[in-house]
Amino acid sequence: MLPVQAVARQPATVTIDVETCKGCVLCVDVCPPHVLVMSEDVNRMGYRYPILLDGCTGCELCFKICPDYCFEVYRGAEDAAPLAN
């Protein structure tokens, strides 16, 4: 299998569509710098959702593992080409 390396490049961030989130926590588990934590609050469906702390590297792993298409990932312009894999 191909190894997938977390790409650590700052500055970067993600947006999270918390209303479609189903609280599966998969994103939190894969985030290499552990900058995602689950909320205390619940969304309209009654699920907790992830909150982004500082330190996102824009590695896209959360994006890749989220079954509910909640993430968009933003990176500094110089790195903005989508990651190849």
Binding site: E40, V42, R44, M45, G46, R48
Partner: protein, 183 residues
């Protein structure tokens, strides 16, 4: 009882029905849920009576509603009898309907459950509140019925659930929202 898949609506309905049986009453229950498992609405009707039940499984009118989620609530508007009760999970049903002559009892079940570290037990809390608020069955009957209805692999949760049921009942008792069943 209405909510969405995964909230445990069918389970608490079964619990209520079984509690009725334990009390020697006539019981009929009917559950309907989209796709049987996943999101989408989930609804269950429980009829508990002292005489023979003549109503069909989809009842013409209802006296008590337990709403865990806003989905499915509007459809019930036509059915609720004046003098009835609406117990709702105020954590999720943020703008509850106002039905004529229907007593509204708001229980922040999801939040209470969270406080107890058991998000998924919200429905048990709500059921406890429903029993407490209506007196339809005794809270003790519910607690006893738990052993009858939980699938084997969930038996370990009996105690937690008993606790949640009690918690719900206490919530309404403390706020003096209880009432007796109509004749």
């Amino acid at each position: 009882m209405t909510g969405i898949g995964g909230q445990g609506i069918q389970l608490i309905a079964k619990l209520l029905a079984q509690a009725g049986i334990r009390e020697g009453r006539q019981v009929m229950m009917f559950g309907i849920f989209m796709g049987m498992i996943r999101g989408g609405s989930s609804e269950s009707t429980v009829v508990i009576a002292d005489q023979e039940i003549v109503a069909p499984p989809i009842v013409p009118d209802v006296w008590g509603v337990l709403a865990m989620h806003p989905e499915g609530l509007p459809a019930l508007a036509r059915k609720v009898r004046p003098g009835g009760v609406l117990v709702l999970n105020s954590s999720l049903v943020v703008s509850p309907p106002a039905w004529d002559g229907v007593r509204r009892i708001a229980v922040p079940a999801t939040e209470l459950a969270k406080e107890m570290g058991q998000v998924m037990a919200a429905s048990m809390i709500a059921l406890g509140a429903f029993a407490g608020a209506t007196g339809l069955v005794a809270v003790e009957s519910l607690q006893e019925a738990l052993g009858d209805v939980l699938p084997p692999h969930r038996r370990k949760l009996i105690d937690t659930n008993r606790h949640c049921i009690r918690k719900g009942a206490e919530y309404v008792a403390q706020r003096d929202m209880g009432a007796s069943v109509p004749a």
